[in-house]
Symmetry: C2
Subunit: 228 residues, 2 copies
Amino acid sequence: AIEIHNLRKVYKVGSEKIVALDNVSLDITPGEICCILGTSGSGKSTLLNLIAGLEKPSKGTIKINGKHIEKMTEKDLARFRQRNIGFVFQSYNLLSSLTAQENVSLPLIFRGIKKQVRDELAADILAAVGLKRHLKHKPTQMSGGQQQRVGIARAFVSKPPVVFADEPTGNLDSRTTLEIMELMLEIAHENHQTLIIVTHDSHVASFADRIIHILDGNIQKIKKKENV
Amino acid sequence: AIEIHNLRKVYKVGSEKIVALDNVSLDITPGEICCILGTSGSGKSTLLNLIAGLEKPSKGTIKINGKHIEKMTEKDLARFRQRNIGFVFQSYNLLSSLTAQENVSLPLIFRGIKKQVRDELAADILAAVGLKRHLKHKPTQMSGGQQQRVGIARAFVSKPPVVFADEPTGNLDSRTTLEIMELMLEIAHENHQTLIIVTHDSHVASFADRIIHILDGNIQKIKKKENV
Ligand SMILES: Nc1ncnc2c1ncn2[C@@H]1O[C@H](COP(=O)(O)OP(=O)(O)OP(=O)(O)O)[C@@H](O)[C@H]1O
Ligand SMILES: Nc1ncnc2c1ncn2[C@@H]1O[C@H](COP(=O)(O)OP(=O)(O)OP(=O)(O)O)[C@@H](O)[C@H]1O
Ligand SMILES: [Mg+2]
Ligand SMILES: [Mg+2]
């Protein structure tokens, strides 16, 4: 499903060069639950952003279901993402002028689904993440963990084949974390979705089929579930 | 140092009323390391914002070092906060047009400290949180956990008597979390600072003298260090 070869990303800050990703190669199979662990600044968000086409690599290739992501135009990338990718951002990226229900409905608008069905699908998934009574709340009227859950709901509502989640439980208590992880896995398994989760939480990592350890922009080691 | 009596906060969302804090009373002694634990949406950020004077309570009183916070004007509150309070926000609240070093220097500008000394103090504390090579980076040029650490550095750089930290390690891996907690405690003890930390992380809570459990806007129980 996802084939990454010799991926490299270098940022320029003034005269300085930051190697955020050095040389990463990785194959992720369809339906896999894959966890990426690593210290703060090790390159996890950069890796996710590159695979999802949100940024361009400095070197290397990314194929999702046979399509070369790094070669696509902005327009094609946008269309490809709308149909194939769900993304839970590390800093939520909700639209502050829209309610929780409206934020979650956005991916469904892109799929041409009519309003009545959109509202219902959005309400259902928001209830599933514990936000039944917050449908009409705007982001500023919600706690940090509630905003994070709206982001998760939005990433899953259209059941895209691939979901990237960048630290989806960083602002959640342990019980809510467990409920959210079970929900994400349930939806992913039911819909044969591939799930790539960046996390610092070992409880979250325990749900994964494979754990990829990143250090200083490189893969340090990979652990399969049985050996973990 | 901090006396809270019958604190209540009700938000209005359309025709709906949200009781974020119901009836909270709490005394925090000078130099205490106090942890607030609770589920997502239980009222932790609301409690912190009220005590720090960032929002007004619906009912109740807050005294910090004898001063009634809930009675102060906006202007007096701003001055009081600049001199007495450091705040680590759940969503960082860094100025995106300023570098890490400039962001951290802000509290020192308010204290009339000249530029050369400011730059040095900011550089020192940024090095202490592991960001020695990111002084000139802007927030968008840093990872989530790096931005979080800039927020922590800013809250401590002027060594205010009280520091509030709203989930300061939510985006940090376990090793960085430990280093940051040890640093915060070291600075706090050295300067007799009172530290009030909201967290979901039990490792963080283990550093506290007292752990306050919040549920649905009320204090559910309090645990002292020996009993934990
Ligand atoms: N400005 C607001 N307007 C309306 N409701 C609000 C507002 N701010 C917070 N709330 C509500 O008050 C309750 C408590 O929010 P608070 O942010 O204090 O929770 P929290 O314990 O910090 O949660 P988290 O762990 O997710 O950060 C939540 O139900 C939230 O939706
Ligand atoms: N736009 C950018 N410009 C310059 N440097 C950047 C940029 N984005 C990220 N970096 C740098 O690249 C490195 C990796 O960043 P990345 O965000 O991928 O880390 P991360 O593993 O997600 O960290 P965290 O766990 O703190 O979120 C960091 O040193 C960061 O400062
Ligand atoms: Mg990150
Ligand atoms: Mg909060």
